[in-house]
């Protein structure tokens, strides 16, 4: 049971608990439906191959949502997200495990603004702990702790 996050107990360099999930077609279909992004790249292997991928890939935005969930899980009810940004890099194939993480980069005691440097890395199937790509690099989340 963790204490409610507070601006006077958060420190620069604090690492957020990682959030992991394995990408499945069902997840990606569900994301396509709820987001409205039904680009065939994410739903149809043939369309994905025609675009140069080995098969369907997850939406970049899905990995960004996962990154945001990691930060929101850490912040809990202590604040809200004022800004979230991400740069998309490696495409995420089905079966890949994505790992979202973050580190506190700055804390402003007066405004309650906490900036978190965030990312999503990816482990390939059966690859142990070797990281094989970065679905999201240069992610940033700015929280306003209330």
């Amino acid at each position: 049971m963790s204490d409610r996050l507070a601006v006077d107990t958060v420190a620069v360099g604090d690492e957020l608990p990682e959030l992991r999930r394995v990408m499945t077609r069902e997840d990606v279909r569900a994301y396509a439906e709820v987001s409205g992004d039904s680009n065939p790249l994410h739903l149809d292997d043939d369309a994905a191959r025609a675009a140069g991928f080995d098969g369907v890939i997850a939406h970049g935005m899905f990995t960004m949502a996962h990154m945001a969930s990691c930060v929101v899980a850490w912040a809990g009810e202590a604040g809200w997200v004022e800004r979230v940004a991400a740069q998309f890099r490696a495409p995420v194939p089905m079966g890949a495990e994505i790992v979202a993480g973050g580190r506190v980069r700055s804390v402003d005691l007066e405004t309650g603004l906490v900036t978190v440097e965030a990312w999503v890395s990816m482990l390939a199937e059966g690859d142990g702990v070797d990281e094989v790509g970065w679905p999201v690099k240069k992610g940033e989340v700015v929280l306003r702790l209330t």
Binding site: L19, R21, D27, A30, Y31, E33, V34, S35, G36, D37, N39, A50, A51, G52, H59, G60, M61, F62, M64, A65, H66, A68, S69, V72, A73, A75, G76, E77, W80, V81, E82, R83, V84, A85, A86, Q87, F88, V141
Partner: protein, 134 residues
Amino acid sequence: MNPAVQGKAYPDVPFVVDPERVDAFRAVAGQVNGRATGVPPTFVTAAEFSVFPTIVGDPELGLDFTRVVHGTQEYAYERPLVEGETLLVRARIESIRERGGTGFLTVVMELVGADGEVACTARSMMIERAAGER
């Protein structure tokens, strides 16, 4: 892509922050603690997608969507969103740049509340890969 389209604004489109859709998004995105932690910060991608087909299909823009990948994305909030509220999605093409046959398109979407104030600004940068490139 047609660089002359830079600055073009699209008609406003309404978007409702539908509580059921927000719940569904929380479940898919893995956001814990339900409503206590508010509307998921990337939920408004759904608002973008209500306007996106118009931009992607705009013959004046001339985008080849089969060659497009998402480069970067950001959302900046002036205030938390309220479930059930109706926002107006106001989209415009902020910039079109080209380098070595690769096109870079930046679209800005402002989500405007019923009070006329911008609640959230979304900025998407899309990359249209050069023809023939994998």
